[in-house]
C-alpha cells in the first residue's frame, strides 16, 4: 500500500491493446426530458400500451425468480401476458434474495424526521459516489413508497409499533429512519410476497413455471432477443423456448470470487451468455465488500456468512499494536491494542461506511496484525458495552446473531471478541440497460442486481431489495409493454434455425466439458480464480496487481480446459457438470471484471485504486476523467473488448468528496 504518496491527475485514456475504444458510442440511455420529478410520469404517458384482450398473445420469458424476477412475472401475469418463468432451483422461493437480512428503504417519512423522495434520491446518488444516473435513481426513490404499500397488502409482516403503525430504523449512509424490516428476514418475507403473487398467477394460468432449468444461451433473431436455450437440470435435455421479450433477473456475480456471502449456486452464466450475444456489460469493477463477515476457517470453506452491520453500533474493532502478536485477546492489555477505526476516524469511529471499514481491516492484516488462526481477521469486541449496558441488553439486540456466530465458530462472543473479516457481498455492475431497463439487445430487459443501473459505485444498505422490486413490480410492466407495442415482432418458432444453432453451441460446450477428462476439479480451479480476484481485484487494486491478475486468469482458463474432470453423463441430474459450466463462464468473465478495474484509474465507492488516494490514504475520485459508465462489448474470449462510454451528468446532486474523519 503506497499510503504516503498523493495522486496527481492521471490521463484517462491508456495505450495498451488490452481493449479498444469505441470511436463513437451508440449507447442511448433514452432518458426522458423535463424536470427530474416529472421524467417517469412523462415516460409512462409516452409509452405505448397493449389492450387487455391482446396481452395474452405476447409471451414474456422471465429468467430467475428472486425479487426482480418473481415481482416482474407476477405483475406481467396480472396484466394478462403469457409469462414463462425459469429458475435453477426446485422452487422459485429459494432465490438468493431470500437471504437479505436488514431491510428495505422507502421515502415514506412516517417518522416526520425530514425524509422525502428527494432526500432518498440524494443519499443514493451520494452513497453511490456519483456514478449512477440521476433520472434512474430519482424514479427508484419515487417508487419506494409504492413498494411498501404493495408488500403490506400482500401480507408481508413488517415490524410494527404498539400502536399498529409500521416501525422503521436507521441504516448506514442515512440520517433518517426510513428502513422497513421484518425481523432479520426482510428479504425472505418480501420474496415470499412476490412468490405468492406469482403463484396466484400460476393458478390463474398466466404464468407457467419451469423449475430446475438453467439458461445457457440467449437466442437473437434479426437483432431482437426472441428466446432462450436452457438445460433441464433433471433430464439433461437441451430445451428451446421462444417469446416476444426476455427478462433477465439472474442476480449478481459475487461468486466469481469463490468465497462470498452469496448462495453457492448464484452465478453469472445467464448474464454472461447474453453478453456474448451482444449485451454490453457495465461497470463490472463496482463490487461491494461487506466488512462484518465470519472469517475463513480453512480450505474447505464453501461460503462466507454475513453478520449484520448493526453489530458495529455496540462492538469496538481492534487488533494488537504489535505485528505477529499471537496471544489470546484477553491476555493483550488495553495499552497494546489498536482501536484503529476510532483512532483514524474520530467522528464516525466504528461506524464508517462499508468500504472504509473493509479497506482498513485489510490494511492492518497486511501489516501482520490480523488475528485468529489465519491472521485474516480483526476483533469486534462487545466487552465495554456488555459492562456498560448489561448482557441482557446486548442479548436482546443481537441474541440471534451471537447464536449464529457461536454455531459456526464454536466461540461465545459474550466472553471472547468476535473475529470478523470483509467478504464480497453484492455487485453494483451488471448488464448495461437504458432508462427502460432494456439492454443493448432490443427485447432483452435486465432487472435487479443483474443490471448496473441504480447504485453507482457503491450500494447503500437496504437498497437492493428496493431496486429489485421497483424494477419488477413498477418499471418493467410499463417499459416491456411499450416495447411489445412498438417493435415489429414476427412469429418465430423454437424450431427455427437461430434456436437450433444456439442449442448446438450449448450442446458442444457440454460435450467439451465432459470430454476433457482431466485430473482437477472445477472447485479447485474456482478456488484459485477466487484467490486471484480477491488478492488483485478485491478491496485494493493497483495497476501492477491487475495486470498480473489478467495473466493468471488466462492461465487458469487454459488449465481448466486442459485438466478439468467432470464425471457422469449429460442426460440426467449432474451437479458437477452444472457447476463446471458456471466456473468456465467465470473464467471468461473475470477478464472483463479485471480490465474494467484496470481502466478506471480512479477510486470511487467500492473500487479503490492505490494510485488514486488522498494524502491521508482515502479514496480519491477523478470526476474530470471518469464521470461515465463503462460499458464493455464482447469481441471474443480473450480478445480485447470494446469500451463504450455513457457520460453521466449531474444537474441536481453535485459531486462532493466523501469524508468521515
Amino acid at each position: 500500500m503506497g499510503l504516503e504518496y498523493a495522486t496527481e491527475t492521471k490521463p484517462h485514456v491508456m495505450a495498451p491493446a488490452l481493449w479498444e475504444e469505441a470511436p463513437d458510442s451508440r449507447l442511448e440511455a433514452r432518458l426522458p426530458s423535463g424536470p427530474l420529478e416529472q421524467k417517469w410520469d412523462r415516460r409512462k404517458f409516452d409509452n405505448r400500451l397493449i389492450a387487455p384482450a391482446n396481452r395474452r398473445r405476447h409471451t414474456v420469458i422471465v429468467v430467475g425468480t428472486g425479487l426482480a424476477g418473481a415481482s416482474a412475472a407476477a405483475a406481467l401475469g396480472e396484466q394478462g401476458y403469457n409469462v414463462l418463468a425459469f429458475f435453477i432451483h426446485d422452487s422459485p422461493r429459494r432465490a438468493h434474495s431470500i437471504a437479505a437480512q436488514g431491510g428495505i428503504n422507502a421515502a415514506k417519512n412516517y417518522r416526520n424526521d425530514g425524509d422525502s423522495v428527494y432526500r432518498l434520491f440524494y443519499d443514493t446518488i451520494k452513497g453511490g459516489d456519483y456514478r449512477a444516473r440521476e433520472a434512474n435513481v430519482y424514479r427508484l426513490a419515487q417508487l419506494s413508497v409504492n413498494i411498501i404499500d404493495q408488500c403490506v397488502a400482500q401480507g408481508v409482516p413488517f415490524a410494527r409499533e404498539y400502536g399498529g403503525m409500521l416501525e422503521t430504523r436507521s441504516f448506514g449512509g442515512a440520517q433518517v429512519e426510513r428502513t422497513f424490516y421484518a425481523r432479520g428476514q426482510t428479504g425472505q418475507q418480501l420474496l415470499l410476497g412476490a412468490y405468492q403473487s406469482m403463484m396466484r398467477q400460476v393458478q390463474l394460468g398466466t404464468v407457467t413455471l419451469h423449475p430446475r432449468r438453467e439458461m445457457l444461451d440467449l437466442v437473437v433473431v434479426d437483432g431482437q432477443a426472441r428466446g432462450i436455450v436452457v438445460r433441464n437440470l433433471l433430464s439433461g435435455q437441451i430445451e428451446r423456448y421462444a417469446g416476444h421479450a426476455v427478462l433477465l433477473c439472474t442476480g449478481g456475480y459475487g461468486t466469481a470470487y469463490y468465497l462470498s456471502t452469496n448462495a453457492i449456486n448464484s452465478n453469472v452464466t445467464a448474464a454472461w451468455r447474453a453478453h456474448k450475444r451482444g449485451a454490453f456489460f457495465a461497470n463490472p469493477c463496482f463490487t461491494q465488500i461487506h466488512p462484518t463477515c465470519i472469517p475463513v476457517s480453512g480450505e474447505h470453506q464453501s461460503k462466507l456468512t454475513l453478520m449484520s452491520e448493526s453489530l458495529r453500533n455496540n462492538g469496538r474493532i481492534w487488533v494488537p499494536k504489535k505485528p505477529g502478536d499471537r496471544r489470546p485477546p484477553d491476555e493483550i492489555p488495553e495499552g497494546e491494542r489498536d482501536y484503529y477505526l476510532e483512532r483514524k476516524y474520530p467522528s464516525f469511529g466504528n461506524l464508517v461506511p462499508r468500504d472504509v471499514a473493509s479497506r482498513n481491516a485489510k490494511e492492518v492484516c497486511d501489516e501482520g496484525r490480523g488475528v485468529g488462526e489465519s491472521g485474516l481477521a480483526v476483533y469486534l469486541d462487545f466487552k465495554d458495552d456488555i459492562s456498560r449496558l448489561g448482557k441482557d441488553v446486548i442479548r436482546a439486540r443481537y441474541g440471534n446473531l451471537f447464536e449464529m456466530y457461536e454455531r459456526i465458530t464454536g466461540e461465545d462472543p459474550y466472553s471472547t471478541p468476535m473475529r470478523i473479516y470483509p467478504a464480497i457481498h453484492y455487485t453494483m455492475g451488471g448488464l448495461w440497460v437504458d432508462y427502460n431497463l432494456m439492454s443493448t439487445i432490443p427485447g432483452l430487459f435486465v432487472l435487479g442486481e443483474a443490471n448496473f443501473s441504480d447504485h453507482g459505485a457503491n450500494r447503500l444498505g437496504a437498497s437492493a431489495l428496493m431496486q429489485g422490486l421497483a424494477d419488477g413490480y413498477f418499471i418493467a410492466p410499463y417499459t416491456v409493454a411499450d416495447y411489445l407495442a412498438s417493435a415489429r415482432l414476427p412469429e418465430v418458432s423454437p424450431d427455427a434455425e437461430p434456436f437450433r444453432a444456439a442449442a448446438a453451441v450449448v450442446q458442444a460446450r457440454i460435450d467439451q466439458l465432459l470430454g476433457v477428462r482431466g485430473d482437477r476439479t472445477a472447485h479447485e480451479i474456482h478456488r484459485e480464480l477466487g484467490r486471484v480476484l480477491w488478492d488483485h481485484v478485491g478491496m485494493s487494486r493497483s495497476d501492477a496487481g491487475l495486470r498480473r491478475a489478467l495473466t493468471e486468469i488466462s492461465q487458469l482458463r487454459q488449465e481448466f480446459w486442459e485438466r478439468v474432470i467432470v464425471p457422469g453423463s449429460p442426460d440426467n441430474q449432474n451437479q458437477t457438470l452444472e457447476y463446471a459450466g458456471r466456473v468456465a463462464d467465470y473464467l471468461e468473465f473475470a477478464e472483463v471484471l479485471t480490465l474494467d478495474a484496470l481502466h478506471r484509474r480512479e477510486s470511487c465507492g467500492g473500487h479503490f485504486r492505490e494510485e488514486s488516494q488522498t494524502p491521508e490514504g482515502e479514496a480519491l475520485r477523478d470526476d474530470d476523467h471518469f464521470t461515465y459508465v463503462a460499458a464493455w462489448e464482447f469481441t471474443g474470449v480473450g480478445a480485447p473488448p470494446v469500451l463504450h462510454r455513457e457520460a453521466l451528468e449531474f444537474e441536481y446532486a453535485h459531486p462532493t468528496q466523501r469524508s468521515y474523519k
Binding site: 425472505q188 412468490y195 403473487s197 464453501s302 472447485h523
Partner: protein, 260 residues
C-alpha cells in the same frame, strides 16, 4: 495464506449414504469414509470433501440440494442418523457443524422420505407439491397498483409478531420428513395462520383454507395425528398451534357453506 497450524485435530467418519440413480431405480445405502474432516466444517462441507474425492476418482459424486448455506433458503434436506436436519434442534443441516461429531462416528444420511416428495437422485427429492399448495390459495389476491397506503390499516404489534412467527417457514419439508404420516399440516397450517391473522388476508380466509387443505390432501400427504415431531425438527421453530389454527379455519369454512 496460513490456516490452522495447531496439531492434527481432524476426524475420520464412516458414512452410510443413500444412493439412487433416479426415481425409476431402487436405491441403497452405500458406505464411504470421510477423512481429514475439520471440526470447523459444516456438515455439507464435509460432504463436499467426500464429493471432491469421488470426482477425482472419476466417480459420480453424491447429489444433494443446497444453496444459501446459512439456513434461510430451505434447499438442504438431509435426514442425519434418523433425524431431519441432524441432531441439533432449530437449525438446518447446512448450519450443523462437524464439531458435533466424534472421530470414528458412523453417520447415516438419507433423503426426505414421503410419497409426496419422490426421490429424484440420491438425496435430492421433488418438493414441488409445496408450490402447488401455495398456488391453491397461499396469497392475498391483490394485484400490483391498487394497494392503499401501508399505514391505513393498523395492525397490533402482537398480531404481526404472531404472523411473522408463522411466516418464518422456509418450506424445507423437514416437518413432512419427520412425520410418520408424512403430513404437510405444519407447512400448510403456517401459511393459513399467517394470512388469517392479518387483516389483509381476511377477505379470502375461508376459500384459502378449503383450497389449500384440499390441495395438500390431493398431493398424497398424510393426516396429522398430533405427535409434534414436525415442531421438534422445524429449523424455524414453527409451532403446531398453526395446525390447530388450520383445522379451525378449515372447519369454519366447510361448515359455513364456503365453496372453493
Amino acid at each position: 495464506m496460513v490456516f490452522d497450524d495447531r496439531p492434527n485435530r481432524t476426524m475420520t467418519l464412516h458414512l452410510l449414504v443413500w444412493r439412487q440413480p433416479n426415481g425409476q431405480t431402487h436405491g441403497k445405502m452405500v458406505p464411504y469414509t470421510a477423512e481429514g474432516i475439520s471440526p470447523d466444517m459444516s456438515f455439507l462441507e464435509m460432504l463436499d470433501v467426500v464429493n471432491e474425492g469421488l470426482i477425482r476418482k472419476g466417480e459420480e459424486p453424491i447429489a444433494f440440494d443446497s444453496d444459501c448455506r446459512e439456513g434461510i433458503c430451505g434447499s438442504c434436506a438431509l435426514v442425519v442418523n434418523g433425524r431431519a436436519h441432524g441432531p441439533d434442534g432449530g437449525t438446518t443441516v447446512c448450519q450443523l457443524h462437524m464439531r458435533r461429531f466424534q472421530n470414528g462416528d458412523t453417520i447415516a444420511i438419507e433423503p426426505w422420505r414421503a410419497r409426496a416428495f419422490p426421490v429424484i437422485k440420491d438425496l435430492v427429492v421433488d418438493r414441488s407439491a409445496f408450490d402447488r399448495i401455495i398456488a391453491a390459495g397461499g396469497y392475498t389476491s391483490i394485484s400490483v397498483g391498487g394497494a392503499p397506503d401501508a399505514n391505513t390499516t393498523l395492525i397490533p404489534k402482537d398480531t404481526v409478531e404472531a404472523a411473522m412467527d408463522a411466516a418464518a417457514c422456509i418450506a424445507c419439508g423437514a416437518c413432512v420428513a419427520q412425520c410418520k404420516n408424512a403430513s404437510a399440516a405444519l407447512f400448510t397450517g403456517a401459511k393459513i395462520s399467517q394470512l388469517a391473522l392479518l387483516p389483509q388476508g381476511a377477505a379470502e380466509r375461508r376459500r384459502r383454507a378449503l383450497r389449500m387443505v384440499r390441495q395438500m390432501d390431493a398431493e398424497g400427504f398424510g393426516s396429522c395425528s398430533w405427535e409434534g415431531q414436525c415442531e421438534a425438527v422445524c429449523p424455524k421453530g414453527i409451532k403446531i398451534t398453526n395446525i390447530a389454527k388450520m383445522v379451525r379455519e378449515y372447519n369454519r369454512a366447510a361448515t359455513t357453506g364456503e365453496t372453493s
